[in-house]
């Protein structure tokens, strides 16, 4: 069975999609990511789609699902590198990327993840000191 590799990078999981997506492959990625978030207690998931030229409603929904599920498991999700033509097409298609953070590239995505998690942790500290 074909799989998209997932790399563990500290408390983050890193995925760069370098192949053409089809439904089963996207569904496998969704399941694998959620399992790994649990296994490694990951705090953030970064998915780079800069090499992906087509995202339709199904694959888009999988990305939204990944973000929602990760959120429930206390991890934030950032999607990076979306091509302009893909972004325009998704909007026209009618898909809303709710709950998914976006960044221009992996570097900015990492920054965004760190800031999200850092801010969250600060909030927790305020609570615990009360």
């Amino acid at each position: 069975m074909e799989k998209i590799p997932i790399l563990k990078f500290g408390e983050f999981l890193l995925v760069t999609i370098q192949v053409d997506l089809y439904d089963q492959l996207a569904e496998n990625l969704e399941a694998d990511l959620i399992n790994l978030v649990r296994k490694h207690h990951s705090r953030g998931v970064l998915i780079d789609i800069s090499a992906v030229s087509i995202i339709d409603s199904f694959m888009g929904r999988i990305l939204v699902n990944i973000a929602k599920m990760s959120k429930i498991m206390d991890a934030e999700t950032v999607v990076t590198g979306m091509q302009p033509a893909v972004a325009i097409t998704l909007i026209e298609l009618g898909l809303h990327f709710e709950g998914v953070y976006n960044a221009l590239n992996i570097e900015k995505g990492m920054e965004l993840l760190r800031s999200k998690i850092y801010n969250l942790d600060e909030d927790h500290d305020i609570y615990s000191s009360e």
Binding site: Q24, D56, S57, R61, A85, T89, L93, L95
Partner: protein, 136 residues
């Protein structure tokens, strides 16, 4: 309106991976008429939605790619044919958010928004034919 077909290819779509092969074939045709990247992305995404329906509801079928011209413009026309159960209520199927499956129901109406001409014909018990046209 009458179109002249300049080029034609038919591809059988029976498994999910055929969708990738078909997407790439559309890309080749679109590149050949030097269609811009945005329009290419739009028609391939629309095709991807229809191919999913073809596989999921129609039990597979045939997809045809054509380069067509009306004398002034050149475009890509895609025709999808299945011999599935057909769609009983086309108006409903074409409305945003309607799905008999678990999807978002964006497939058909979304695909329509992405192309210049969209045509769907369905007969219950006979099958469904969808045609997409995008000018360069």
């Amino acid at each position: 309106m009458t179109f002249t077909v300049q080029n034609r290819e038919e591809i059988a779509v029976t498994i999910e991976k055929d969708a990738i092969f078909f997407r790439n074939a559309v890309k080749t045709y679109a590149t050949k008429i030097s269609m811009g990247l945005l329009y290419q992305t739009k028609i391939i995404t629309a095709a991807s939605e229809i191919v999913r329906n073809l596989l999921k509801y129609g039990g597979g079928g045939k997809a045809m790619i054509e380069t067509v011209t009306d004398g002034r413009k050149v475009g890509i026309r895609l025709t999808f044919k299945d011999s599935g159960p057909g769609i009983p209520d086309l108006d409903k199927a074409m409305s945003d958010g309607f799905s008999t499956g678990k999807s978002l129901g964006l497939g058909l109406p979304g695909a329509k928004r992405l192309v210049d001409q969209f045509d769907i014909r369905s007969t219950v018990g006979v099958g469904t034919t969808v045609t997409l046209l995008k000018w360069k």
